[in-house]
Amino acid sequence: MDKQVTLTIDGKLISVPEGTFVADAARMADIDIPVFCHHPKLEPVGMCRMCLVEIGRPIRDRATGQFVLENGQPKIQFLPKLETACTNRVEDGMVVHTQSESAKAGQKSTIEFLLTSHPLDCPVCDKGGECPLQNLTMAHGAGKSRFLYDEKLHLEKRKPLGELIYLDQERCIQCGRCVRFQDEIAGDPVIGFDERGRSMQIMTSSEPGFDSVFSGNTTDICPVGALTTADFRFGARPWELEEFPSICSQCPVGCNITINTRREAAADGSMVIKRIMPRQNETVNEIWICDKGRFAYHYTESKGRLTRPAIRKDGKLSRASWDSAIKLAAENFAEAGKNFVVLASGRLANEDLFNLKSLADHLKGDAVLYSEIGGGELTSAIGISPDTNLGEVGPGTTLVVIASDLYQEAPIWYLRLKQAVRRGATLIVANPRQTRLDDHASYVIRYAYGDEVKTVHSLDKKNKIGEAFTRSENVIIFYGSEGLGVEGSAALASACAKLLNEYGFAGKPNNGLVGVWQRANDQGAWEMGYRVEADLPRFLRGKVVYLVGVDPAGDDPRLAKALENAKFLAVQDILESATSELADVILPAQAHTEREGTFTSGERRVQRYYPALPVLGETRPDFAITAQIARQAGFIQEGTSVSAAFDILSETIPSYAELSYSKLAEVQPQWPVVGRGDLYYGGTTYENKHGLGAHLTTTASRGENVHILRVHRESAPRPQENELLAVPVTRLYDRGTTVLPAKVLKNRIGKATISMHPDIAERLNVKNGGLVKISFDGHSGEALVQIDKTIPAGVVTVPRSMGLAIHEPVPAKVK
């Protein structure tokens, strides 16, 4: 596969892998061949004719297959026409001229043709300053137009393709990159070309328009300012922006991002985030991010930020000094002993979670991860091992997804698995209902809600699927929480882990168990030794609770009640919430955009993020607040240097051994080449200069013994005659506190929507889109109905974080 081919481009002798296109070969050799339609991640189409070059091929003797020589050199034959560098593959002995008179004339011609219809409104164009057309026009364009200005086409300049992406029809150069991205990479072919010839225009065929969670990426690879996001449109000029490397905090994938900020008059002269852009990490997100990651960042600027410590006095929260707040918290924690509970969010940094856990350990309290998925300790034991790369797995690897709708829960994983199938990997998707990934699966298993463990046990049966599983060289299982609560998912994890272990799919690259967590750093919490609690309301009663980054009271009235009945509440968070209302002490924290730290992704890759915004008010980083409390309680923790905190962590937690901030900041050359000078090629995605991160080891990969407990699960509840089984499902756009402030996502978030089979809808006499009342577990709320024939009869799916406090399957009444 890795056979090298040697050719000459502009006199430079280079060797590249067989099958490489000339345009890519040139890029590898740092030679610029201008391209518009070509993109290194997309199939070649040869549409724009920008990359025309002279290509010569050595003549071979027909009989012997040897090169025909001329003066001792192979004789080279050039075609009379220029050829497209993006569609021709390299051949041994090929000679390419990119700078000859005729090649330059060809490139100049294409630019001239493009500009006949292009408005060149660079001064008001969002792409101006980072626009391939602008740059290539400067490099290859003529000084003067031969096209009569008055005859320029006038087309619509603000055509919404959906509410997130706008099209400027005049600027579009019909390169088809956006269409092909949606088709080939995203698998959501919802935009296309309408009409033909000069009337050809991009249009959307979906309802709502441009219905894809990857739509923002098209604005990165659009080589002109034709596609812009509703969020950034007319927001700033690219050269005014500062760039800060970061990690997306919205899901366990851990996409590498760049945060662009600017000082904003409209925000009283303070620095604000203008946009989130993908940053290349070929082992994580390549050069893509999902729309949630791109648009859901406004929460850090929310009016409801907590900026100063407060203490409850006479029943009212009032401003306090950090010293007194910390002292109060520390006293209460220390007194509580085993009644002390840390309830932490997976949104926190590894360093935060580490300090919190050691504080809990020191005080002999408990450290609980606020999550509805159990079994995570098994991913620490037999999770993905170092050197795993989902971007490279192919034939010989079987990927299993069970109880998870990856498109909704971890969009970039959906994309990576889909691409792995294209490279030849086997994909088994097992879910109780249809999901987007089914279309790309080699095998689809449909089971009844509640039969998850049984389904895992059938994966090594003597049938086609069983063979695909057992005979595979490598197996990775992604397990999620579709229709499951803490106990159900823990049982599922244990079944998966047992099976993987039994067949030796653990402890080596491209093998192991992955949890599709709810938050960016749940994995870190599992590695640190946190546990989850199935019955939080009961558990929290009477406790001294240190709530960090969580809002149980806002999520569930039963939890609110439990907190009201707790002994003492210290709330450490960035935003005001129903929980902070109940606090005895408030400890205002910095958002992850305002500080440094690390996350551990679901693939168990530790990655660094850097501060992008100045510190707000009196806020402090979580790990530092915890360290100050610990110090008050007589226990020394690192509270100043986050990298030193990480060093202590890595000395303590075996899977992090030998990792350090400098190791995490290492970069290696990545393909394709992207970045500032290569905008025309890879798009406006950012180059990774600040670290690709590093993988954790597992118990198995360290060669230690793995113990997997069989987790027993009480059988699923049985709905009564007039009840349905309500099961929790996860949607990408929910009403989470970090998502809701993103106004552009308003329509996509929508109202809580429950799905049911048409027969059930008929029985209940409800219509598609109708409003119903759903009640379960003493809790009730309103929801819209979506009729979906892929939902099993007798079941109603209820979205998490949409105002209906569902945690696990429960019998429900729908009216």
Binding site: V45, G46, F113, I173, G197, M200
Partner: protein, 420 residues
Amino acid sequence: MAFVVLRHRDILDIKKLEVYRQNGGFEAFQNAVKNLKPDGVTQVVKDSGLRGRGGAGFPTGMKWSFIDSKNWPHYVVANADESEPGTFKDREIMESNPFQFLEGVALACYAVGANSAYIYLRGEFWQLAGFLDEKINELNDAGLLGAKLFNTNYSLNIYTHLGAGAYICGEETALLESLEGKRGQPRVRPPFPPAVGLYNKPTIVNNVETLTNVPLIIQNGAAWYKSLGTPDSAGVKVFSLSGRVRKPGNYELPFGATFRQLIYEHGGGVLDGRPVKAIMPAGASSSLILVDEKALDTPMDYASVRTLGSDLGSASIIVIDDTVSIDWVIQKTIHFFKHESCGKCTPCREGTYWMMNIAERAHNGRKDPADVELLHAVARQMQGMCLCALGEFATMSVVTGIDRFPSDFKNPVNLQEKIV
């Protein structure tokens, strides 16, 4: 001489299956399936010198031998898109001599190991599609198509498919895209269809007329066919004659007949006895031939027409007399190509649009010499740059028109404008 392709002009009822069979119909196919190896059929077609009638004149037998035998299944597609202005031969063939065409399809399928063939018809041929469906059903009923033919293991089905009205869908890769249900836009070539065609499988695309020649070639032998026509261009050709002639229509003549013979002996000469000024031998895609006595006596075969600085293409001979301004002619062709450009590649999409702007300006009375020069320059600039041949076609009449008829681009043009 007996007709080879337009045999219905000899045998009136040949569109009836029994009449076609009485005249030897389907013997070639039956014989091939029962007694010949597929390669044997290809060899005969190769030896006959048959060249594609769709425009490019590519040797048919050679094309068939390029089919990739490592990748299956194979398909045959009959190109019945017939959209070149001035071309109307395939329609007559399919309407009047359908079985010979269908037998040609069947023989091509057998030769390349295809069990399914598609006839891609331009949308306007919807009645013809229904008619062909009937004929295909008759063949199925008669056991001449379908499963396990003539007690062998060979099975064949033929289907018709209607396009939606785009000239570009005559281009073979755009046709395949359209047949697959996608936008009719050309693919990058190579790979060519015999390697990667319909549904990415090896596919042979042939013109209707090309295929209609095949049954008699198999029946009468390669030598017989070669004896018709010229060494360079074997056999007979259906010339679609139109323009300023008395008797426009299809004329089947051996290759090598002269323009003069076609226009004056068969076409009854030019209207009003005017002299021929120009000929477009390949419809709107032609390089314009500047006509003099020598040009009129030039044989119509691929090589000879090239000596006149043009190409025979699909042999749709449009005759232009001295009442017609070339300036008007190219305005029409530019309009056509601007309308039909699929828009996929930059030079054609933008170039045809740009040429249209200039040509309209020039034609609407403002004949600025600089504009004529610009028009010529834009056309030249498109050449060699486009993704498919349509973009090249669009420039042919423009460049040759301005080069060869310069006085028609000067003010004032005191010619009557007549409809060609």
